[in-house]
Symmetry: C2
Subunit: 131 residues, 2 copies
DNA sequence: CAAACAATTTAGAATGATTATAATATAATT
DNA sequence: AATTATATTATAATCATTCTAAATTGTTTG
């Protein structure tokens, strides 16, 4: 592991949030002011390809990264903020319903976070919804 | 509904695949050669915001659109191709585990499609993986 | 240690997706 | 028909991401 790879990995690992590439870059620059955005992309892709980190995508927003295996996500459909949650494991029932093996699954539950729930009531300019 | 809105809606509705904006644009141009990409974006966003169509995002790929409510997705982790599947409904158990109401959920199961499963064995240049 | 080779980083250009803007065209309303 | 509102066009602008080639660093081996 190179020094940047390790540093990026630690930023992703230590963060309670789900960081975008740009946020990771900003944090990395605190300790390594000369680093360049492409390096962050290179290392994130490398670690993603090797399965070390996970990419989380929410429609219309840049991908985010996290590290913890085995958890699900609670996503605010309005502001896109993500919380970790752990629902009961679905691997076995999904495999049996699918009738074949698979690699992993991704479960997101969309809701309105407390702040957005408030705003939604008044504002007519809501960012949008899914499904 | 304007003529473009209706036409775009029908393209999304009729397609067996999950189309990207660009694919929808290409199909729309067959019947309406003068239409412009921004119109496709405008109408898709409008229909997405009003809940008429659904946006499906897979990490690292442009968003795709579909129409059917109430189904899940089987995604090839290598090429990103999406198939519709219907697992048993999780609304009730998720709500009770979460302890609160939510808007909807999104369940994706990642696997290697037959073509990619083959390639994976040989090629050392695999596009990557998640989790 | 030094030469040779491999891998990483940099800088910046290139590509793609999406949004914003202002002008024009179309549709709806009085 | 005149007025107003809404959609569409044609760009330009903005982001996110990838690519390229050169420079740098790291590793291996004579």
């Amino acid at each position: 592991m190179t020094k940047y790879e390790r540093a990026i990995y630690n930023i992703v690992r230590m963060s309670r949030e789900h960081l975008t590439v740009r946020q990771i870059f900003e944090r990395l620059k605190m300790d390594h002011p000369k680093v360049v955005l492409a390096t962050v992309y290179n290392n994130l892709n490398k670690m993603w390809e090797s399965g070390l980190i996970r990419k989380v995508s929410v429609e219309g927003m840049p991908d985010r990264y996290d590290i913890l295996q085995k958890h699900d996500h609670l996503v605010c459909k309005r502001c896109g903020k993500i919380l970790d949650v752990s629902f009961e494991d679905l691997t076995a029932p999904l495999r049996s319903q699918l009738g074949q093996d698979f690699l992993f699954y991704d479960l997101k539950v969309y809701y309105l976070c407390p702040e957005c729930g408030e705003k939604e009531k008044t504002s007519e300019e809501a960012p949008g919804q899914s499904i």
